[in-house]
Amino acid sequence: MEIFRNLWRRKLRSTLTVTGIVMGIFALTTMGAMAEHFDALLDGGMAYYGSNIQVTDANASIASGFGGYMSLSTLARIERVPGVAAATPFANESADPGALSVVNMGIPDFISSIDPNLDRYSPLKITLARGRWVTDASRGEVDLGSAFALEFHLQVGDSIALPVRPADAQPDFVNHRFTVAGILDPTLTAPDSAAYVSLHDAQMLVGDSLPSGLAGHVDPYQIISGVAVYAKPGVNLDALAERINAAVPTVEAIKPSTLVGAMKSGAAVFTVITTATALLALIIGGLSVVNTMLMSVTERVREIGLKKAIGARTRHILTEFIAEAALMGLIGGVVGYLLGLALTTVLDAGGGTGALFLVTPGLTALAIGFAVALGAAAGLLPAVRAARLDPVAALRAQ
């Protein structure tokens, strides 16, 4: 109680100091939540891309997203490469072309053919929350990722026209009505933004989006966006990718290590952002705590002298001052964290294109724990100064 009263005794100063910590922890929480979101996204990406080889047309790059086409006939040549356990052809298309934005920081909504081999070969597991799976034989049915379903307020049995018609749709824009067969559990990664249809339906949608020069000249059911190749147990994926490239010159098999490496460097950027924010909090909050506590020691010299005279030992004085500084850290940490939580919740709810933030228990513990540790550490120097005071000089200080 005494430490609360000591803080309350200097309301304005304590409030200003706590505000510094609030700002730091608020920034740490929001930036940290964004980093956590991307980490989860990238973890999922690494789990998926680390477990298979993405094979696309030699002239299209995986990084270019949609628009690369290859012939379905290539599939058989890929399947024959030694070491290949399974190869899933896939077709991808943008689900909501009108929503594409340069500032979109999540995964844009996409339509993809369902991969029947995923569950067997990939550590990234997708599970149904409600409804049933779309199969190869399905027509006009879709399984929606959790964020996708939430964004368009869809339930099992509802229908949606895919791709979603953009506001500035061209006159030749075509879409098709799909019935929601199932809704997936959240994965915190790409499948949350997905609309999974059968390969046949995905090929139909890709065919609709073909440039006018190609449309009508090719059979959409003979083209695919790419192939996901799964290896037999014990086969090195990078080596298998090289073998595919050598055996099938018209395709490009991307080494999983290249994709995972790119994602890891993406994750590293966010780690740097979070660390930089934490450092900012450290500087703003820490220095103001040091200043406040030093002033407090100066003002309370006689009190410290008295406590030492009546038997307080060095550790008692240290503990009391560090506890006071840590309490400021705790108050600032809790308030800053709650403000950050409120902001991320509001932004996520109103963002439209799915979650941008992820506040994990780890982040909560980090934000509040960091604030308390910061306060305590910043209180150390003033506390040592207080504990070292000579009781006689302190008692008679004016």
């Binding site: 005494e2 009263r5 000591n6 005794r9 006689r302 009190e303 002298g305 008295l306 406590k307 030492k308 005279a309 009546i310 038997g311 307080a312 030992r313 060095t314 008692h316 009781p391 006689v392 008692l395």
Partner: protein, 248 residues
């Protein structure tokens, strides 16, 4: 065994390259249960003697023995523990913590001695009652008069059941009437508990109401007299403090 024994107690300070001889070889003994006043002019060494005796300051030379223990050999931690267990302090300016209530101020020393807080609380209530502050236990120092604050400080000095209470001008900040009352209060406690009191004062009239007066001059012992109270302590105390005449 004397409660306190000072042997050749010397304290020199250096200020602006000048050596100040605050205490210069003082030797004396104070017996258990004595009520002693230390008098002397400003700069005579009274406070330095009290600071050394209270283990707040180490002497330049000489020894301080409390209940036979040579305190010079103790570490700072050991000295703090001894202060906490054996010594009560009363200061001129009360030195109460402004954020704590009267009760919490009285209990403060127990925080550092590790005593049982519940038993301590009962004793604090009893002490405040004895100080005539039974109805003001939750008041903050700012809500109390000077005399009341010093009574809280006296209760604080006694909470740890010390064997020695040291007072540095404890009546220095209050009017004459309150000073008389505070001294009477201390004498009553002394009579009932037989705690040894060593009080620094510049007021010879108040000093005359103690058992023994130690005179200091320029850091030397200039006199050591038994007062009338000291010769016949109880009777003299009764005479000196009429308010307590009815008590035994």
């Amino acid at each position: 065994m004397p409660a306190m024994r000072l042997e050749g107690l010397t304290k020199h300070y250096t200020r602006a390259s000048q050596v100040i001889r605050a205490l210069d070889g003082i030797s004396l003994e104070i017996e258990q249960g004595e009520f002693v006043a230390v008098v002397g002019r400003s700069g005579s060494g009274k406070t330095s003697m009290l600071d050394c005796a209270g283990l707040l300051m180490r002497p330049t030379a000489g020894r301080v023995l409390l209940d036979g223990v040579d305190t010079g050999a103790l570490s700072e931690r050991g000295r703090a523990e001894l202060r906490s267990r054996r010594i009560g302090f009363i200061f001129q300016e009360f030195n109460l913590l402004p954020t704590l209530s009267a009760m919490e101020n009285v209990l403060l020393p127990l925080r550092y001695s590790g005593a049982d807080p519940r038993a301590g609380r009962r004793r604090a209530e009893q002490l405040l009652e004895e100080m005539g502050l039974g109805g003001r236990t939750s008041h903050r120092p700012a809500e109390l008069s000077g005399g009341q604050q010093q009574r809280v400080a006296i209760a604080r000095s006694l909470i740890g059941e010390p064997t020695l209470v040291l007072g540095d001008e404890p009546m220095g900040e209050v009017d004459t009437e309150t000073a008389e009352m505070l001294l009477a209060l201390m004498r009553r406690i002394h009579r009932e508990s037989r705690v040894t009191f060593l009080i620094v004062t510049h007021d010879l009239d108040l000093a005359a109401k103690t058992d023994r007066i130690i005179h200091l001059r320029d850091g030397h012992l200039a006199g050591d007299d038994r007062t009338e109270c000291g010769i016949a302590p109880v009777a003299a105390a009764r005479a000196a403090t009429p308010a307590l005449a009815g008590r035994s």
